[in-house]
């Protein structure tokens, strides 16, 4: 059943990409509506910035538009491909940002809707966000892909162009670092007290 569903999705993705390659704007809008949230989510967690996340998400979808004619049918589908493109773009941006300036990126006002109202609720989330941002780039990507995007290890390793064993080692270090950081920030104690 599941394999059949995947097959259907692949067929749909292949058809969709074929239409996009034929410069069908409706097909492109359909693909954007399907995958924009996922691409945005990954980019936002990787970069921690809404504006940059939107840039990266749009660049990823534009790549789909530009490279649709080189699409290999029968592949894993549009979503994994977009995820890989997004993660790579985020890693590029993070690296360029680090080389361009050693200064801290200035805090930007959260432009998300109802941000003020969510301040109290996202206090813990902000601490976790800070901890995720302190992780090295690839460790950050590993945690985001496996935990938040619920991607299996081999899929995440493929996204990061890594061997499975190397990826598991990377993920182990990432989880340990993240756990230590969250514990240092006292988030877990607050959660226990609330419970």
């Amino acid at each position: 059943m599941m394999q059949q569903a995947i097959k259907v999705t692949q067929e749909n993705d292949d058809e969709l990409v074929a239409r996009i390659a034929a410069r069908d704007h409706n097909a492109m809008r359909l693909a954007s509506d399907r995958h924009a949230n996922m691409v945005w989510r990954v980019a936002y967690r990787m970069l921690g910035d809404a504006s940059e996340a939107e840039d990266v998400a749009q660049e990823s979808l534009l790549k789909l538009w530009n490279h649709a004619d080189r699409w290999n049918a029968g592949g894993p589908g549009i979503a994994p491909w977009l995820k890989k493109v997004t993660v790579n773009q985020c890693l590029d941006r993070l690296r360029r940002k680090r080389f361009a300036s050693d200064e801290e990126v200035p805090e930007r006002a959260d432009e998300t809707p109802l941000a003020d109202l969510q301040m109290e609720a996202v206090e813990t989330g902000q601490a976790v966000k800070d901890c995720i941002e302190t992780l090295p780039d690839r460790q950050r990507a590993a945690v985001i892909l496996t935990y938040y995007e619920e991607q299996p290890n081999h899929g995440a390793a493929e996204t990061l162009d890594m061997q499975l064993k190397a990826f598991e080692s990377l993920l182990f270090r990432a989880r340990s670092s993240l756990k230590g950081c969250v514990e240092r920030k006292g988030v877990l104690e607050q959660g226990r007290a609330r419970l």
Partner: protein, 302 residues
């Protein structure tokens, strides 16, 4: 590798990091860019990354240095062998000597030098060993030098006094240069004086007497000189008042000294004589006194 699974509290904390939904109009803006023909190459227009300069590791640097030196050595050695630097400098080496060498019989071992047998009747053997040889050699050198001088016609033309002065200067020169010791020089001069012909002896005695007189005058010893002439008892018991005959005086004085004790006056005169006598006379006197002492000791022992 076992992954440290997150605890429920950790999962709850991680889940609280909620991501807001995609901004409204996201797809509209994307489609607008596509419609405008935006290829999305904004990344390409970004500033060029600075060239990453890596620090060379010490191992790589060392290997480069060693490799460079080895390459340079190889190149220079090849160039030298090819004659780029001109004719090679000839260096004599041990291998060439070995090529030219012939195998010959080993030389016969030399017979060990036996130590010279020295007089067996020596009472004190330690005083007769090597120093005796050295003394004869040193004395022989003095004698040879003086004999050579004597054969010189210019030396023969000098007065006896001048001869003494010249000979003394030569002997002192030998002593000063370290060729002979002072004792060897004295021994040689004494031997020469003893073996000299009568004419020379007379001349020497005369010169010595003159010198002695001059010395006494210098010391203001005119009175002393008169004492020498009035010391009759001493002329019997001590060597002759004239310094030219120490051996005769010694032989005369020995029985007298051996026969009995000296009186106080004789002893005082002897002391005065010792003070004013020449070195040869003083040595003769000392020998006489020593023999007398030995005789007395032998007599006591008997």
């Amino acid at each position: 590798m076992t992954e440290p699974d997150f605890s429920p509290e950790m999962k709850k904390a991680l889940d609280s990091y909620a991501v807001p939904p995609a901004p409204a109009g996201f797809s509209d803006r994307l489609m607008a860019r596509i419609a405008a023909g935006d290829t999305g190459q904004t990344v390409a227009t970004m500033a060029e990354l600075p060239t990453r300069r890596r620090t060379i590791s010490p191992w790589r640097r060392t290997s480069r240095i060693v490799g460079s030196v080895a390459l340079f050595s190889l190149a220079t050695a090849t160039a030298a062998a090819a004659g780029v630097f001109g004719n090679p400098v000839y260096l004599p080496v041990i291998s060439e000597a070995l090529v030219k060498a012939d195998i010959v019989d080993a030389p016969a071992p030399k017979a060990p030098i036996k130590p010279a047998i020295i007089a067996q009747k020596t009472i004190e053997p330690e005083t007769v060993v090597t120093p005796a040889v050295e003394t004869s050699q040193g004395s022989a050198a003095v004698v040879a030098r003086l004999t050579e001088m004597r054969d010189d016609p210019r030396y023969a033309g000098l007065t006896p006094k001048q001869k003494l002065v010249v000979a003394g200067r030569e002997v002192r020169q030998l002593v000063r240069t370290g060729e002979v010791s002072r004792q060897e020089a004295r021994t040689a001069v004494r031997d020469l004086a003893r073996n000299a012909d009568p004419a020379t002896k007379a001349a020497v005695r005369k010169a010595v007497a003159e010198r002695r007189g001059q010395r006494l005058e210098r010391r203001g010893g005119i009175a002393t000189a008169s004492n020498l002439e009035t010391a009759e008892p001493l002329s019997v018991t001590t060597p002759s008042a004239t310094p030219e005959e120490p051996a005769v005086a010694q032989t005369e004085a020995a029985p007298a000294l051996a026969s009995g004790k000296l009186t106080e006056e004789q002893a005082e005169a002897l002391r005065e004589r010792l003070r004013t006598a020449s070195p040869e006379q003083r040595a003769a006197l000392r020998n006489t006194l020593r023999e007398r002492r030995q005789l007395r000791q032998q007599r006591r022992a008997q």
